[in-house]
Amino acid sequence: MTRHGIALLMLSIIAIAGWAYNVNYNTKAAIERVSTLRSEIAAEREALRVLKVEWAYLNAPDRLSRLVGEHNDHLHLVPMVPGAFGISAAVPFPPKTLEERQNEEVYTSVYPRVGGIPVPVARPVPGAAPSGASAVGRDRAAARAVTAAWSSE
């Protein structure tokens, strides 16, 4: 009985010792891994910082405008001016398809065209044809005025 007991005890001691040995080395390995990862993270962070600064330097407005000037032969870029803004009303309508033109004939009998300016087929004109310029007409005139004012500069 006692002999068996002693044998069992020794076996368990060996097993526990083996387990402790394992855990010890695993822990050490983990600690090492953590420190490598830490230094890797630090290195990545530093790289990130350097790249951020480099990005900011490469995008500095003064540097970009200097480069644009140097490569003007190919780029033909000009500083942004107020005349560069467009007005949606100045965008021409796409050419009409045959189907649309046929429909238009139907619509124009109900909604007359205004002052030679094409009104979109789906847009109803409020009331009768206005005496002066329509809302669309005003937008287009404003668009032309902006373009004219800035292109004469």
Partner: protein, 568 residues
């Protein structure tokens, strides 16, 4: 009885002595065991070097980044190196000195020899060192030269934001670190905030738009060249919040290579920030403020006509106008035609006490409060004894010298429905939700915006009337003060203070040129209308689209019809 008692006590003493001996032995044994164990542990385990937890960066001095309103980096730290030497490790210091002076052309060879042959065991060679220089030193391959890690403070935007960021200097330096302290501009004002480790991760966000800033600076540089001016300053401010979107002073400097020392007039020093630090007599731009006070106090209204004879006598002094003015002028005409006499009379109608009060409320008695270290020192120069004559001359901008930031804040206050605006460089403003104290009424603000619009439509600032931006403003041409007393007749500071668009004010722009001359005509012209105004027009045309402002054209039905007819 007594004997027995003594013998018993003696026996107890003997037992106690034994106990003490045992205790002493146990303590000694434990101590020896501890030392032995520690020795055993040290002998049996592998030696491990103490590792540096680099990601933690604990204890290393930090300095936060600075970004513009859109997050573009304006100031950051880069890992760099410093170069130091241990002369005792060198075989031939003279040879090393020779080689080093080849790598660093700016260093004196004899100086290096003296350093390296001296008795010291540690000498700094250069800090900071660029990666290319580091490589060159590595290629020399001499022993005794060492590199230490050292942060470098870098400003990617360079000159463009030079006056805003200011600069830093290294205060405490070691082989492994350098601690930076702000020495000018934002870096100095927010030094504590930038060095706070708790806030290091969060960049300091400024109200500056670096793209607008660059465009404005370019337009100013072109203006300086065109009018052969000595310098220029401009500030663009949001009317509602007081946020400064662009602030430039020329000449300027590159904060990455801050110039040290300067001989000559302080004003020509590139480190001198004209916008925040400079104090100038701002000329006729003050007439707008005088007129606003006159309307606000009720001493004048739209129907009031002020007598403007050829000159106004006060004691020995004569206040004159440069051009012939009509006999009587309305408040609007005084501003549009820029009459000194009319302005002086208005100031007398307001009264010196109230006139001073309003200037105080507009901030002309204190530093502007801008977050630049230079601005804190720029308290406006006021007359020592404020007489009625002082009020008269100040009413048209002479006798009181303030920084362009002061003027911008005053104009923004007038345009912001009459509520006080405080200039700031921090994105979002310092108190975004709190409306400023009321200085002028809504009605006065509205009326003065119309008057300023008239200055551009038919007055001295016609050259800035960009279609669609409804610019309003006031020009000012102030003769420079002669150092010995009196004024120069051929040296002026020409200023234009603009508000746009006048129907819904969004921005205030102040532009000043130092000694400009327009030589395009037969006679040289120095007035602001011919110098500062066209530069302002350039700036607005460049900057407004960047700030996403569309030109607005408001046409009446008749105008639409005539335009339509003409354009078809």
């Amino acid at each position: 009885m007594t004997d027995f008692a003594t013998s018993q006590s003696r026996g107890r003493t003997a037992v106690r002595g034994d106990m003490r001996l045992i205790l002493l032995m146990v303590v000694i044994c434990v101590c020896y065991a501890a030392v032995g164990l520690r020795m055993g542990v040290l002998a049996l385990t592998d030696p491990v070097e103490p590792t540096l937890a680099r990601s933690g960066d604990a204890g290393r001095p930090v300095r936060g980044d600075i970004v513009d309103r859109n997050g573009q980096l304006l100031a950051a730290n880069l890992p760099g190196w410093s170069l130091y030497a241990h002369p005792h490790e060198m075989k031939d210091p003279v040879l090393v000195a020779d080689a080093l002076s080849g790598v660093f052309p700016s260093m004196d060879r004899d100086d290096l020899i003296k350093k390296l042959t001296g008795k010291r065991r540690f000498v700094w060679i250069k800090r900071p060192v660029s990666p290319r220089e580091r490589q060159a030193v590595h290629e020399l391959g001499y022993p005794g030269l060492h590199f230490g890690a050292r942060e470098i403070r870098i400003y990617p935007a360079g000159r463009t934001a030079g006056h805003i960021v200011g600069g830093v200097k290294a205060e405490r330096e070691g082989v492994r670190f350098a601690e930076f302290v702000g020495s000018a501009g934002i870096e100095k004002h927010f030094d504590a905030r930038l060095r706070d480790p708790a806030k290091a991760a969060e960049p300091l966000r400024l109200s500056i738009d670096i793209t607008a800033q660059a465009a404005m600076r370019q337009a100013m540089a072109a203006g300086i060249e065109r009018f052969t001016a000595k310098g220029a300053s401009a500030v663009l401010m949001k009317v509602k919040t007081g946020e400064i979107v662009a602030l430039a002073s020329l000449p300027d400097f590159d904060p990455n290579d801050r110039p040290e020392g300067f001989r000559g007039a302080a004003e020509l020093n590139p480190r001198f920030n004209r916008v925040a630090q400079g104090r100038y007599e701002l000329g006729s731009t003050f007439k707008v403020l005088t007129a606003a006070m006159a309307l606000e106090t009720g001493v004048a209204n739209d129907a009031t006509l002020v007598k403007t004879p050829p000159a106004l006598k006060y004691g020995r002094h004569n206040i004159r106008d440069f051009y012939r003015m009509p006999k009587q002028m309305s408040v609007e005409e005084i501003v549009v035609k820029s009459s000194n006499v009319g302005s002086a009379r208005l100031s007398m109608m307001i009264g010196t006490r109230r006139f001073k009060d309003y200037l105080r409320k507009l901030g002309f008695f204190d530093p502007s409060g801008l977050e630049l270290s230079e601005a804190a020192r720029a308290k406006p120069l006021l007359p020592e004894r404020w007489t009625d004559l002082s009020s008269m001359t100040i009413s048209f901008g002479h006798g009181l010298a303030a920084s362009p930031v002061h003027l911008a804040a005053a104009f923004a206050t007038l345009a912001n429905d009459g509520r006080r605006v405080h200039p700031t460089l921090i994105a979002g403003g310092t108190e975004p939700d709190k409306p400023g104290k009321r200085v002028f009424s809504s009605a006065t603000s509205k009326r003065m915006l119309e008057v300023m619009r008239q200055v551009v439509v038919r007055g001295t600032a016609r050259r800035t009337d960009l279609p669609g931006y409804e610019i309003g403003g006031k020009t000012g041409t102030a003769e420079k003060v002669r150092p010995g007393g009196g004024y120069f007749s051929d040296r002026v500071i020409s200023t234009f203070a603009a508000v746009f668009p006048t129907t819904e004010p969004e921005y205030v722009l102040i532009i000043s040129l130092d000694e400009p001359t327009d030589r395009s005509g037969p006679k040289p012209v120095r007035s602001a209308g011919r110098t500062a105004v066209p530069v302002a027009a350039d700036i607005i045309a460049r900057v407004a689209p960047i700030l996403d402002m569309r030109p607005r054209l408001m046409l009446t039905d008749d105008e639409v019809e005539t335009l339509d007819a003409r354009l078809q």
